[in-house]
C-alpha cells in the first residue's frame, strides 16, 4: 500500500487501538482536531474520548499520567506536539519513565510510547524544529527510534506500542507528507539498522529527516562515479553497532549525517564506536555533518543550518580524498 508517512502512523495507531483495548492515545489536541499534524485524525471518532484523550497543556502531566496509566495496565501512546515542547516533561521521562523498571527491580514495566515530531525543514518558528534525540539516547532505560519512511513509521510504531520498553518515537516532520510503500508486515526488528542503498565506496550513516538527503547525495555522487552506501540507523538507543561495523568494515569510509548539533550529538557516538570496533579497516577518519552549535536559527536561515546535499557531498569528497 502506498501512503504518506503521516497516514502510515495513523493506521498504526488505529490498528493498535483496535486490537488492544489497553492502548490509549493522549496529548494536546489529538481528539477532534486530530493533532496539529493530523496524525491522530479520526481516532477519537472511532474509539471515543476515553481512549483518545485530549489533555490539558501540560507536558509533564501527559507523561506523568501516562506512567500512572501504565502502572494500571494501560499502554499509553503520548503525543508531544513539537520537539521543543518536550522539556517540561523531561523530569517525568528521564527520572521517572526511564528508571522505574530498574528502580523496582523489574516489578513495574512502563510500556509508554512518546511520539515526538522532530527536526526542521518546514519553516517553523523557534522551538518547533529541534533535533533533540541525544538527550534521550543518553538516558539509560529508554529505547529511542526514528522513522524515516512510511514503512518504518507504520511498523516501528506498532512494534514500539507492542514493546514493554518505554520508547521515544521520533517522526521527522518534514517527511510527514512524503509517500512510500507500507508492506503487510515488518521486515526488521525495532533495534535493527537498515541498509537503504548498497554501495562500495563509502557509507553514509544517518536517520530521520536526513535519510532522504543522504539518498539524494548518493544519487548525485553516482553521477560522479562514486558508489555510496546509505544506512538508516532507525534505532538510536540501542544503536545497532554490529550493522554499522559490518557496513563500514566493507567500505572503509564513513560520514555520519544528522540534523542535531554535532557537539555531543550521536554522530560522535557512532564515530567512536567505529573507531573502537573497526579502526584497522578505516581508510579515513569518520566525518560528521550536522547542525551547528547554535540555537536552531530563524526559518530564513534553516537551509544554512540543516545539512543539505552539497554539505554531505563536501564531506564525502574530503573523506574519499583522504
Amino acid at each position: 500500500m502506498t501512503t504518506t508517512l503521516s497516514r502510515a502512523l495513523t493506521t498504526a495507531l488505529h490498528h493498535a487501538l483496535e486490537t488492544d483495548p489497553k492502548v490509549l492515545v493522549m496529548g494536546q489536541d489529538v481528539g477532534g482536531l486530530g493533532g496539529v499534524f493530523r496524525v491522530t485524525d479520526g481516532l477519537q471518532k472511532d474509539f471515543g474520548p476515553d481512549r483518545v484523550i485530549d489533555t490539558p497543556i501540560a507536558e509533564a502531566g501527559i507523561v506523568g499520567t501516562a506512567i500512572g496509566l501504565a502502572q494500571r495496565g494501560y499502554r499509553p501512546v503520548c503525543e508531544i506536539q513539537f520537539d521543543g515542547f518536550v522539556y517540561p516533561a523531561f523530569n517525568q521521562i528521564v527520572s521517572q519513565l526511564a528508571k522505574m523498571h530498574a528502580r523496582t527491580g523489574g516489578a513495574i514495566t512502563l510500556p509508554v510510547v512518546i511520539r515526538i515530531p522532530v527536526s526542521g525543514g518546514i519553516g517553523a518558528v523557534e522551538h518547533h524544529s529541534e533535533s533533540n534525540e541525544a538527550y534521550f539516547a543518553h538516558t539509560a532505560g529508554l529505547r529511542v527510534v526514528a522513522a524515516a519512511t512510511p514503512q518504518d513509521a507504520h511498523w516501528l510504531l506498532r512494534q514500539a506500542i507492542e514493546s514493554d520498553d518505554p520508547v521515544i518515537f521520533f517522526e521527522p516532520k518534514c517527511r510527514y507528507w512524503s509517500k512510500g510503500e507500507v508492506a503487510d508486515g515488518p521486515d526488521l526488528p525495532m533495534h535493527a539498522a537498515r541498509t537503504v542503498r548498497p554501495g562500495g565506496d563509502l557509507t553514509l550513516l544517518t536517520w530521520g529527516s536526513m535519510v532522504e538527503t543522504c539518498l539524494a547525495a548518493a544519487a548525485a555522487a553516482e553521477e560522479e562515479g562514486h558508489d555510496l552506501e546509505v544506512v538508516d540507523l532507525r534505532s538510536l538507543a540501542p544503536i545497532d553497532v554490529e550493522a554499522l561495523v559490518g557496513a563500514v568494515g566493507r567500505t572503509g569510509r564513513a560520514v555520519v549525517v544528522h540534523e542535531a548539533p554535532v557537539t555531543g550529538g550521536l554522530g560522535g557516538e557512532v564515530a567512536a564506536s567505529l573507531a573502537e570496533r573497526c579502526f584497522d579497516r578505516l581508510e579515513a577518519p569518520v566525518r560528521r555533518v550536522g547542525g551547528f552549535d547554535v540555537p536552531y536559527p530563524a526559518a530564513r536561515l534553516e537551509s544554512h543550518y540543516r545539512p543539505d546535499l552539497d554539505r554531505v557531498l563536501d564531506a564525502v569528497d574530503r573523506t574519499l580524498a583522504y
Binding site: 509533564a60 502502572q71 517525568q92 516489578a107 540501542p238
Partner: protein
Amino acid sequence: METYVLLGADGRLSDEPAARDVTPELCRGLYRDMVLARRLDSEAYSLQRQGELGLWLQCLGQEAAQVGSIRAIRDDDPVFPSYRDHAAALCRGIGPEALLAQWRGVRQSGWDPAEHRFGVYTLVLAAQLLHAVGYAMGVQRDGTDEVVLAYFGDGSSSEGEANEAFNWAATVNAPVVFFCQNNQWAISTPTSRQFGAPLHRRAAGFGLATELVDGNDVLAVHAATRRAAETVRRGGGPALVEATTYRMAGHSTSDDPTRYRTEAELDHWRARDPIDRLRTLLDREGWADEAFHADLDAEADALGAETRRVCRAMPDPDPSTMFDHVLPGGSPVLAAQRDGYAAYLASFEDAS
C-alpha cells in the same frame, strides 16, 4: 478555614459529630500502628548513626498524619507515597527489610508496589502526584471504585508538577485524595517561604474538595480522610487534605535543624505529640489495659530487633545486578557492557 480537630492537644474528644464514631478498637489500632512506626523509625536512625544505613529520613512526629490517613481508606486503595511515609508503609505490610533496603544502598526500592498497593518512594518531589492521577484515570476506565491516595509535603506543593496534578485531576474528575503532610519545614525552608496562600485555599481554586485537619490528631485525620475518600469514591471528584503536623527530626540524618529552628518551637510541638495525645485518651477512658501496653511493648521490641537483624544481614548486591531490568526488551549494547564488566572482574580472580 478552621482546622478540624477531634482529639485536642489535651487528649479530650471534641463534640464534633465524628467523635461519636470513635471506638476503643479504632483507638487501640491506631495507637499500635503509631507506636510501631516510631520504633522502626528510631531503630533506623540508630542504624544510620552506626553506619549501617547511608541515610534515613525520619517520620518522627508525623505518625498520626500517615496512620490516620492510610487507615481511613480501603486495603485495595492504591497509595503513591513521597519518601518519608514509613508509618503508612508499615500499615501496608511493608516490613523493615523492604523499608531499609533503599537507605542501606543495596536497592533503589524495596518492595513490589502491586503486592502492597503502595508505590515506591519518589525523591524528585511531586512526580508521584501525576502518577497517582494517571493511575486514577485507569481506575475510571476500568469502572472500579478504588480511591487513589497520594502523599506529598508542603515543599512539594511548590513544584510545577504538583499544580499540574491538582489541575489535571480536577479536569478529569479523577478519584484521587491528595494528602499533604504540612510539616512546616522543607529542609530549612519554612512554609512562609514556600507559598503565599495556604495550600487548602489554593486547592479549592483548582476545584478540589478540601479539608484542613490537625495532623497530630490521628482521629481527626482518620475521620477527615475517610470523609474525603468516600466523597471521591462516590464520584464527587478529587479532594485535597492538608494535615498540619511537624517534622520533629531533621530533614534527614545529614541535616542539622539547629541551624534554622529553635528549641522553643520544638517544645511547642512536643506538647502536641500525636502518640502522647492518643495515650492520654486511652488512659482516661480505660480503653487499653496493662496487658495491651505490655503486648505492644513486646511487639515493638521484637520489631526493633528484627529491624537491626535484617538491616545488618542485607549483603551488598552482585555487581551484575545493576544491568538487570534496565530495558524489559533487552539491549545488545547493554549485554555487551555487562559481559565485558564480568570478564574484567573475573580477570582479577584469575590473577589471584
